[in-house]
Each structure stands twice: as structure tokens, then as C-alpha cells.
């Protein structure tokens, strides 16, 4: 596609439920990131994929968070047993890699845990 696509754009869930957030990167982009942004705050790194492997998952806040990427393309971020503090905008970004390769962001998924 023309840009990074994330779905759903909005998700409201009850505390304790599991949620899956999807990211479809730009075709041919080997690197994929997940970030989280709470209201009025900066971007918090969650996990980085190069192809299907995750060389850096140090930002995942707890074992309730997991992510996978298949076929070097689509990525899914799963949050189990959601808590209210998980409420945030979850942003996905991809880039081609190499020099002069800017990062392209999707529009994010706004997650609200009630």
C-alpha cells in the first residue's frame, strides 16, 4: 500500500480482555517498530523487528505484551488481560533500511481500557 496501515483505528475494551492490534507496513520495508504514546507524552519504544525476528524487544512493559511478524510483512501486537494503564495510542512505523531511509508512521490505534 501507499503507507503504513494500522487497524483498528480505535478499540475500546473491558479490563481483563485480550486485544490484538495489526500493522501492515509499506511493501518492501524490512524494519518495523511498535511505539506507545500516552496522552500528552512522548513516544515509548516497545519492540523492533528486522524481517521476522525481533532483535530488540526491551521496551515491552510486561509479559502481557507480545508481538509477532510473519512473512516479513504484517505485524500483530497482542496485549493479554488488559489493564487501564494500557490505554494509549499504539503506533507502528516501518522503514526500508540503509542510509537516507526515513521512518514512516501509521495513524495509530487508540486503545481505551474501561
Amino acid at each position: 500500500g501507499a503507507g503504513v496501515s494500522q487497524s483498528p483505528s480505535n478499540k475500546v475494551t473491558e479490563k481483563g480482555k485480550d486485544v490484538e492490534l495489526r500493522c501492515d507496513p509499506i511493501s518492501g520495508h524490512t524494519a518495523l517498530y511498535w511505539y506507545r504514546q500516552s496522552l500528552g507524552q512522548g513516544l515509548e519504544f516497545l519492540i523492533y523487528f528486522q524481517g521476522n525476528s525481533a532483535p530488540d524487544k526491551s521496551g515491552l512493559p510486561s509479559d502481557r505484551f507480545s508481538a509477532e511478524r510473519t512473512g516479513g510483512s504484517v505485524s500483530t501486537l497482542t496485549i493479554q488481560r488488559t489493564q487501564q494503564e494500557d490505554s494509549a495510542v499504539y503506533l507502528c512505523a516501518s522503514y526500508r533500511g540503509g542510509n537516507n531511509s526515513p521512518l514512516h508512521f501509521g495513524n495509530g490505534t487508540r486503545l481505551t481500557v474501561t
Binding site: A31, G42, Y48, N107
Partner: protein
Amino acid sequence: GIQVEQSPPDLILQEGANSTLRCNFSDSVNNLQWFHQNPWGQLINLFYIPSGTKQNGRLSATTVATERYSLLYISSSQTTDSGVYFCAVVITGTASKLTFGTGTRLQVTL
């Protein structure tokens, strides 16, 4: 880990004014990018600038990698420039994790 600090944290300008935003980082980097997050939350890449100077219209950026800082210049500001400006860096020799700064919130008024 690397520290990325931006200043000022907040800035209010009148339309037409110029401004300089600064990004300081604590380690050697091989990738530095500037982003604009508009009031609707969209993040747009402005510059990929690990060193040197680039210009794009009313915006320009300079990175002095040896002194560990980058500057973003906005000239003749417009209300559409409002939002938050972030710089992000990758430490030289690491597995390409892009670390974001704290951001500068800019409001341009009429």
C-alpha cells in the same frame, strides 16, 4: 541508554516569526530524524539528517554529530506548523532502535 533531550519544551510564536528547536544527545549516532506530530496525532518525517544541513521550504535542519546536537529551524511560521516536534536517534553500532526525544510543543498564533 542514550539520552535525547529537546529544548525548549514549549514554544508559542506569532505567525511569521522564526524559531530554532534543539536536540541534544548523549552518545554517538549514525541516524537522526526530525518528525512533526500534528494536532490530530499524525507523525510526519521532516528530515533524515545524521550530519550536515538540509533544507525543505521554510524548514531546515543542521546536525553537528561531533558535538552531539541537531537544530531544526522554522522560518516564517504558520499556524499549520503547530504541533509537537520530535527528534529521534540511533546509537552507532546498535541494532537500529530509534530513540525519541522528549519533544517541543509549538503553538503558532495569528
